[in-house]
Amino acid sequence: MRYVDEFRDPELITKASEEIYRLADPDRHYRIMEVCGGHTHAIYRFGLKDVLPSNIELIHGPGCPVCVLPMGRIDDGLAVAKNSNVVFAAFGDMMRVPGTHGSPFEHKARGTDVRIVYSPADALQIARKNPEKHVMFFAIGFETTAPSTALTLMRAKAEGIKNFSVFCNHVTIIPAIRAILDSPDMRLDAFIGPGHVSTVIGCRPYEWIARNEGKPVVTSGFEPLDLLQSLVMLLRQLRAGEARVENQYKRVVPWEGNRAALKAMAEVFQLRPYFEWRGLGFISQSALKIRDEYAEWDAEQRFPIPGTRVTDPKAAQCGEVLKGVLKPAQCKLFGNECTPEHPIGALMVSSEGSCAAYYNYEHRKAAAMVTSISSVA
């Protein structure tokens, strides 16, 4: 399969791994954050830790949109869905995220009309086909998914579709990275920059991280070879004492980003003065709201919203895990009360959440595993 197989080539991966071993100073401990949840998932899915030296520690960042959404927002969205005739449409990974009174799936079992969609355009299509219902798309995601929500709203307005709205939870990545860097208990050497977000915003927005904070950034693809090559590029910079933004994912990420997507976002969204992030608290100018020109399609303006604020369960340490201060397994609830089946925190739900990725792919890999790693068949 093109664009997949060549990035999983064992020979090239071995070469990249050897280069990482050569570049890494054995007397130094490297703490490198992969910002994006997609990278976290790939690192576990491909078992990349098995081919890295033990002094390279990968820290999972805040780039999992489901994980950073505070429970109150889910409660608010589900409160709107309680109105008769409202269809609650969302991506599949939202469906098991717990709200105070259960997840969207549990609400579905109790009678709420909950539907999985693969794109906001699918939600709009449900609205077109069911004029007697009101379809509310529960929008989540960073700049990766925000443009498709924007385009869908532009389409709804152009077609004058009145029975459709968006409950907007879109967030932006840069303020989250800033919050991580401002956190006093966080020491990082470098960043593996987001891949999908960068296809939209490009690489320029990360330049301050290199310039002001002195930390290298390499935007990376999601295949094993992408991630290993990005680590090679970061280690080369660290070795040379440099801090620059580099683009490993050139086949997809343009340096200047996607202008058409940015234009659509600017047309539909404006920055909220502040927004609450799970684990990170309120961060100013970190999320998008729908502009007044689109108020008719803004669920928050159309429906009464309770504005629920819920504190996370005290024992769950989602915030510390989200910031990279704790590893998933260091949380008291990990694997006991909190599992992918019965998640307490959202990091255990989304396949991009570091707890779920760790639980699914790493947890239970016992010490005896060393003997199992060679090929078997």
Binding site: M1, F105, P224, P340, Y361, A368, A377
Partner: protein
């Protein structure tokens, strides 16, 4: 024990506590298992001390008979490569086959939705007749119920089958030993991905057909050459290969180690899974089976499969090890590895 019997205590320990039934309870993963082990088994089934298999063993006057039943609620009713009628025959025959039994007779129950066109029903009845003939089994009766419009997605079919156990074949997770080899009969994921695409909700197209078929002849081929070496068999339907092998790992207390590159899969399935973020190991199959075979019989079993019609793509995908206990580990070509768990819930609409 405070006057409680041991049975009552065991019931209390595993009681099913979920407050309501959700789609996940029918998806074949962890929630399904919880429901069966926590509610149905303790209240309804006679404990034989054996792990719950795909078919029950019933003794009548000293003769052992295999009994199984399966319901089919697939949407759409017809899809590339098959239809609900064929699934209903093949699925039950396959549950018998992987229990080491040759299906002898089937009965079918139809739950029909008011307003279902007769032509649709007739097409499915014909599909069942054809599948039964190909599988070499007789349909001997059934029952029909009609429910109100909007209540049954057109039709649901339940088939119940009885069969005769093959001589010398034992299917028992407890007999599995470290060093045993894991055989897979052919490429995975065809059925699940075909159904997903056939729903037309994804705007994806692929040249792919369901793998629904009766696997009895393949099981017989293995049994003819390697019967004493067969330890365990199962068809990886809902929840896919990963869920089935996790159940095995749990039942035998050992580790299952798979080699990713050995797992046969069509490019279309792989591509769709990459695109949709699904693990092909979690995707349903309707015409494959997994067999754990003692190492000294592995080559004979594989050769027999490869020479049988429809077993050409069969291969050994891994082996049983003492570690990681009760888990499934997949190793990659470049030396990485990951744990693969049972399917949790079901992000996809139901598919079989």
């Amino acid at each position: 024990m405070n006057g409680k019997s041991a049975v009552e205590s065991a019931r209390a320990a595993t009681r099913f506590r979920d407050p309501q039934i959700e789609m996940a309870h029918g998806a074949g993963g962890k929630a399904s298992r919880r429901l069966v082990e926590g509610l149905f088994a303790p209240l309804l089934y006679q404990s034989t001390g054996e792990a719950l298999g795909d078919a029950a063993r019933v003794r009548i006057d000293g003769t052992a008979i295999a009994v199984t039943t399966d319901s089919f609620v697939v949407r759409p009713l017809r899809f590339p490569g098959g239809s609900i009628g064929e699934l209903a025959v093949n699925g039950t025959m396959n549950d018998l086959a992987v229990s080491g039994a040759e299906g002898h007779a089937l009965v079918a129950t139809f739950v029909l939705e008011e307003g279902l066109p007769t032509s649709v029903l007739e097409a499915e009845v014909r599909a069942m007749a054809g599948a039964a003939e190909r599988a070499g089994v007789v349909m001997v009766g059934g029952d029909t119920k009609v429910v109100e419009r909007g209540k049954a997605d057109g039709m649901y079919i339940t088939t119940t089958g009885i069969g005769r156990f093959m001589p010398q074949v034992t299917v028992d997770a407890k007999s599995v030993r470290a060093g045993d080899k894991i055989l897979l009969s052919g490429p995975i994921g065809d059925h699940g991905i075909t159904i997903l695409l056939a729903r037309g909700e994804l705007d994806l197209e692929a040249n792919l057909a369901s793998d629904t078929r009766c696997i009895l002849s393949l099981v017989q081929a293995v049994a003819s050459e390697a019967a004493p070496g067969i330890r365990w068999m199962r068809d990886p339907t809902r929840g896919g290969v990963a869920t089935t092998l996790n159940e095995l790992a749990r039942d035998c207390g050992l580790g299952i180690v798979l080699s990713e590159e050995e797992i046969p899969m069509r490019d279309e399935v792989r591509g769709a899974c990459e695109l949709l973020g699904l693990d092909p190991l979690h995707i349903a199959n309707e015409g494959q089976f997994l067999a754990v075979v003692a190492p000294e019989y592995a080559d004979a079993a594989l050769n027999a499969l490869n020479q049988a019609e429809g077993g050409e793509d069969a291969c050994i995908i891994g082996e049983v090890r003492s570690e990681p206990a009760c888990a499934v580990l997949v190793t990659t070509r470049y030396g990485g590895s990951r744990i693969v768990d049972m399917l949790v819930g079901d992000p996809l609409p139901r598919i079989c």
